[in-house]
């Protein structure tokens, strides 16, 4: 930790659009501060932006992190699933707390509004997928308010300009990782994920619909749990909004949400990229608070997971 400011120091590997947006988000955080921004391409736009901001940059990739392991506390990986699998070998050697934004699925699946406290105890935390971060809080709310979820489906539409080539080539990984997480978090027997990429101009905001076949007694309880969860997610994703409250249509519970991005570096329509970055920063901030206080202080200051969860 940086004693002077009382903030934890974070390094970011991956200087694409997600990494650069993370840089801006961590710069405005009260709990963490970016100290290194690392990529492999010396001429990347992200590196030059970071350099202008006075952040230490390197194009030596993972080697830089290995050699400068003392200079940071936590690490965000915003590269790719394949790179993360390689990077993780070094990450384990240097024993840092890793927040992985790739769909590599090596780390503990984390959704801040559901399992933040538990996740912070793991050394590698995986942020799942954008659709997962959007839908899992609602899946959790449905789990709390129904007795048995038979089938769960989520459909996300994102703007074409927010879907880079990696997203497009890894749609399959996106779908399978999202489906796995839906089953794990909701306890449903079967899950399906669908992704649409819409080229409309002006760009569409990320929108996700959740369909669930479930056994329930009290529909009002569903609405109440969803509404509480919306508030909880809003605390770390300000642009998270339910646009279709839970309704019962064709015997299935249906609800929709949109995510407007904060517009830190990425455009506001890119809510899909914003939500996963907001969630990742929420993990780092929680970890900082957990690391810098004793359990007793923690309880007294009431800044535990309740600050995010419903």
């Amino acid at each position: 930790m940086n004693a002077e400011y009382g903030k934890s120091r974070v390094a970011i590997i991956g200087t694409g659009r997600v990494g650069t947006d993370l840089l801006f988000k961590t710069l405005s955080s009260c709990y963490v501060e970016p100290v290194a921004f690392v990529g492999r391409n010396r001429n990347s736009e992200g590196l030059s932006i970071a350099r202008d901001l006075g952040i230490e940059v390197s194009s030596d990739g993972i080697d830089f992190l290995r050699e400068n392991a003392d200079s940071f506390d936590y690490l965000f990986d915003a590269t790719s699933a394949d790179s993360h699998r390689l990077n993780n070998i070094v990450f384990q050697q240097i024993q840092k707390f890793i927040i992985d934004l790739t769909p590599a699925r090596l780390g503990h699946f984390c959704v801040p509004s559901i399992n933040l406290r538990e996740s912070a105890r793991h050394s590698n935390v995986n942020m799942i997928t954008c659709g997962g971060q959007a839908a899992l809080p609602l899946a959790h709310a449905l789990r709390q308010s129904t007795s048995d979820i038979e089938y769960l489906e989520i459909v996300s539409s994102i703007s074409s300009r927010s879907a880079g080539i990696a997203t497009r080539e890894n749609i399959d990984e996106y779908l399978t990782t999202t489906e796995t997480s839906l089953i794990r978090f909701s306890g449903t027997k079967r899950a399906k994920a669908i992704l649409n990429i819409n080229p409309a101009y002006p760009d569409v905001c990320m929108q996700t619909t959740v369909y669930a076949y479930a056994i329930f007694g009290d529909f009002e309880k569903i609405a109440a749990c969803v509404s509480a969860m919306e508030k909880a997610v809003k605390r770390y994703v300000p642009g998270y909004e339910i646009v279709l409250p839970p309704v019962l249509d064709k015997d299935r519970i249906t609800l929709s949400l949109t995510v407007h991005g904060r517009g830190d570096f990425l455009p506001k329509y890119a809510g899909n990229l914003d939500i996963i970055n907001c969630a990742a920063v929420a993990v780092a901030e929680y970890k900082h608070q957990a690391d810098s206080r004793t359990e007793v202080q923690f309880a007294k200051e009431n800044i535990d997971q309740r600050s995010y969860s419903a």
Binding site: S160, I171, L175, K192, I194, N196, T209, I222, D249
Partner: protein, 347 residues
């Protein structure tokens, strides 16, 4: 010399839209047997939105992909078995199943501006030395130049052909001529065309595509397909025969297939209703129509006002979930009580 026109028949795929994806295995078997006898070149089978598309969003199919493809496979010898696949709806695992069952023709589709989502799948099919067509859906939403750029990507991935789909039945023959001519002069691979009859122009558009060099044409028995249906197969074959285009089937052969369809499948045959015309006029995906009709009725909102608002959002195929959200918004504005009942859990 005029190249042979291949007839691709999606009655057992696009037709599934017309009956909320409820085609049965008996229907599939009987139709596949008749298609083989009628010397149909390619028979497409599956959920209306393709492999892996059975869902709450689009409708859960009566039979699984495996069951449907196996049922058709039994009867297709010379007729090739085809599938439709949209990345994002279907997964690699769905494609593996189709390869395993012995599907011959893989039509890998994307919205007309998002062709690079198909690369992995086209390359996979080609690595197995199977036939892959690139399909650009909702092709009315892009101009000829954009379509060509996208088509060239698919060609570069290894696609054996490129199919333009007029998924909303929006196009007129002049638009079809312009686009097919542009593609024909720049692509090396075969060009296909898939029409919808929402504005009553499916045959005219198909003929226009052929005149400009398209050599793979989609047609369904009795037009059985999404929206107002597709190009009517028996009419298409009759016209092609009279115009002396070389084809493997003939009107005489098609009569038997039409009879099978009439007896077993197309009792709820689509005709051109105002809802279909609206879909064509506003450029909304043909598969939206039954969802729009159902939801507009349920929430007591005006169906055409809903269409207008959906069109303004420039939706693509696969965004059927937005219909309920938009209708709910509209109902809220109109102060209807129906939406309250829905939100209280009364179906």
């Amino acid at each position: 010399m005029q190249k042979k026109i291949l007839i691709s028949d999606p009655t057992l795929r696009d037709g599934n839209h017309a009956i909320r994806h409820q085609l049965t295995l008996n229907q599939i078997e009987a139709y596949a047997l008749s298609a083989e006898k009628a010397r149909i070149d390619i028979l497409e089978v599956g959920h209306g939105n393709g492999l892996g598309a059975s869902s709450s969003l689009l409708g859960h199919a009566q039979a699984s992909d495996i069951e449907m493809l196996e049922a058709a496979r039994k009867h297709c010898r010379n007729t090739k078995l085809g599938i439709h696949f949209i990345p994002g709806l279907g997964k690699n695992a769905d494609l593996d199943i189709a390869i395993e069952i012995g599907v011959d023709v893989f039509r890998i589709a994307s919205h007309c501006t998002e062709a690079n989502t198909t690369r992995r799948y086209i390359e996979k099919v080609k690595s197995k030395e199977l036939a892959a067509y690139g399909v650009l859906m909702m092709s009315h939403m892009a101009d000829a130049e954009t379509l060509c750029e996208q088509a060239m990507l698919m060609e570069a991935y290894g696609a054996d052909g490129l199919v333009l789909m007029d998924s909303a039945g929006f196009s007129t023959p002049d638009l079809v001529r312009q686009k097919v001519t542009y593609l024909k002069s720049r692509l090396g691979v075969d060009i296909g065309f898939h029409a919808h009859n929402n504005l009553g122009l499916a045959i005219a558009n198909s003929l226009a595509a052929i005149e400009c060099g398209a050599t793979v044409i989609d047609g369904c028995s009795k037009g059985f397909g999404a929206g107002a249906g597709n190009t009517q197969l028996e009419t298409l074959v009759a016209v092609l025969e009279r115009q002396k285009y070389p084809i493997n089937t003939s009107f005489k052969l098609i009569v038997g297939l039409t009879r099978t369809a009439e007896e077993l499948i197309t009792k709820d045959n689509p005709n051109i209703t105002c809802a279909h015309i609206a879909s064509g006029l506003y450029g909304l995906f043909s598969g939206y129509v039954p969802h729009i009709e159902r939801i507009a009725k349920k929430l007591a909102v005006d169906q055409f006002e809903l269409c207008e608002r959906l069109a303004a959002r420039q939706l693509i195929a696969g965004q059927e979930d937005i219909i309920l959200e938009e209708a709910f918004r509209l109902a809220e504005m109109r102060g209807g009580t129906e939406k309250k009942a829905l939100a209280m859990g009364h179906a």
